[in-house]
Symmetry: C2
């Protein structure tokens, strides 16, 4: 996410200067060679000290940990953003920042299961929705700068309250992940009696299970900072599976067909 | 499926003559213009009367209906194949064919939600598994011809008993479909309170729900000719969802992580 953001900002020359902060020198060397960043450092204080805007691009719990110590390193008026996948916990941490920092939560809706700089692409954010969750304390100027950054990478800014964001992504992002996990684990349990099943797996299984291949530590952070909303969506999914089971058990083919048609209609409306 | 099969056979010149049978003359005209077929007819008797091999490429229940009347139209020794997605019901119907017909059930593992001749592609079967379910009465010569046809379109033949085939596809094809249906219907129910959810839907939801956009009549045929195996997979999926719900409710993050990791490991092994 961070690599793609730097690449997108560099390609549109939106920033006077882009400074990359990473754990490994090799990452920074690559980012410099590819001209994603103007300079790089493994030292957070050095990297952010002169910045007008800082964007934290690590998993949710690491963002929260960084927020706790970063305030003192930032210059007055610095806009502190992030791209974390849940927003309540992050924005709660942002409330504790010293007053001279201007926090704006963010979440671009363009995840991928692959990560790392070599997977970075400058077009990742193009035409994607980029949620912004400002705090009450956030100044209009700071929010304006966040808007500009989002538009500079080609994304469409959408202002949301952190709790509403978290409820919405539980439905359209975390639930699909949990369903993919349940699908793979169910297939795994069933295929134990006949492993030939995997030989027959085609495009349907591949696509439906794709997100289950994502990073587990990243997903754990997301789920544990969005426990209640995710639980609610899982219970709803269980109800829907119960409905399908009941139709098959009772031989209610009319109701079964109605459920399949409702899903097809909605799916087709969403992805025309 | 039929269009792609004709296109693949035509491109490798595997057949002396390819005759297309369709309901609409316009379909046949297009198939001829694209050189997928040598001749076309809307009359089944005329189309299959001189054939050495006939492949039925319609939804499961229509295949079964066609099998019932087609025997008298076929010449002695004619190999009758199909590409239907379930095999017990079709092979049971094949048992009733007159003795001069040589039946071989088939199922290429390369479904797509799009159908119709305009979506046909000669490479659809390339490197895909193509299940063959011969009957006890099927002669080695007939099975050999079916093998040749499968290999001519670039697919890999796999011999299976019809019941085993149906159990296996329930796991890796019908369960993913039902999970996608449950996901879309759950998201639909949840998003009723806040339709903005759909604005945030990204690649994860798109891929996990893709197969729910498939043809409902086709899927109804499949589910109703594979009711028991599908029910079994759905009950297993419900168990897996219950496990995830329990972990989140009890705060058992160690077990939750283990479930996510198991899914990730299996998914990564299957699609290296």
């Amino acid at each position: 996410m961070g690599g793609s953001l730097a690449a997108a900002l560099a390609s549109t020359r939106a920033c006077r200067r882009i400074v990359g902060v990473a754990r490994r020198r090799s990452t920074l060397a690559t980012a410099r060679a590819w001209r994603f960043i103007d300079e790089g450092t493994t030292d957070l204080a050095e990297g952010v000290g002169h910045a007008d805007v800082v964007v934290l691009c690590t998993p949710v719990n690491d963002i929260i940990a960084k927020i706790k110590g970063i305030g003192a390193l930032l210059k007055p008026g610095c806009v502190l953003m992030d791209v974390g996948s849940t927003k309540r916990a992050i924005c709660a941490a942002m409330e504790t920042l010293p007053e001279h920092v201007q926090p704006v939560g963010g979440h671009p809706m363009c995840g991928k299961e692959t990560s790392g700089l070599t997977m970075a692409e400058p077009s990742l954010y193009q035409d994607k929705v980029f949620v912004l969750t400002p705090l009450e304390r956030t100044s209009p100027q700071a929010l304006g700068l966040a808007y500009e950054l989002v538009q500079a990478v080609g994304a469409r800014p959408l202002l949301l309250d952190p709790a509403r964001h978290d409820r919405l992504v539980a439905i359209i992002s975390h639930l699909p992940y949990m369903m993919a996990v349940a699908l793979v684990n169910a297939a795994d349990a069933l295929a134990r009696q006949d492993p030939l099943a995997w030989t027959l797996a085609a495009g349907g299984f591949r696509d439906t299970s794709r997100v289950a291949g994502g990073s587990v530590p990243m997903m754990m952070d997301i789920l544990l900072t969005n426990r209640e909303p995710v639980l609610g969506t899982l219970c709803q999914a269980r109800e829907q599976i119960d409905k399908l089971i009941n139709c098959l058990e009772r031989g209610d083919d009319v109701e079964l067909q109605a459920l399949l048609e409702a899903a097809r209609r909605r799916r087709t409306e969403v992805y025309r």
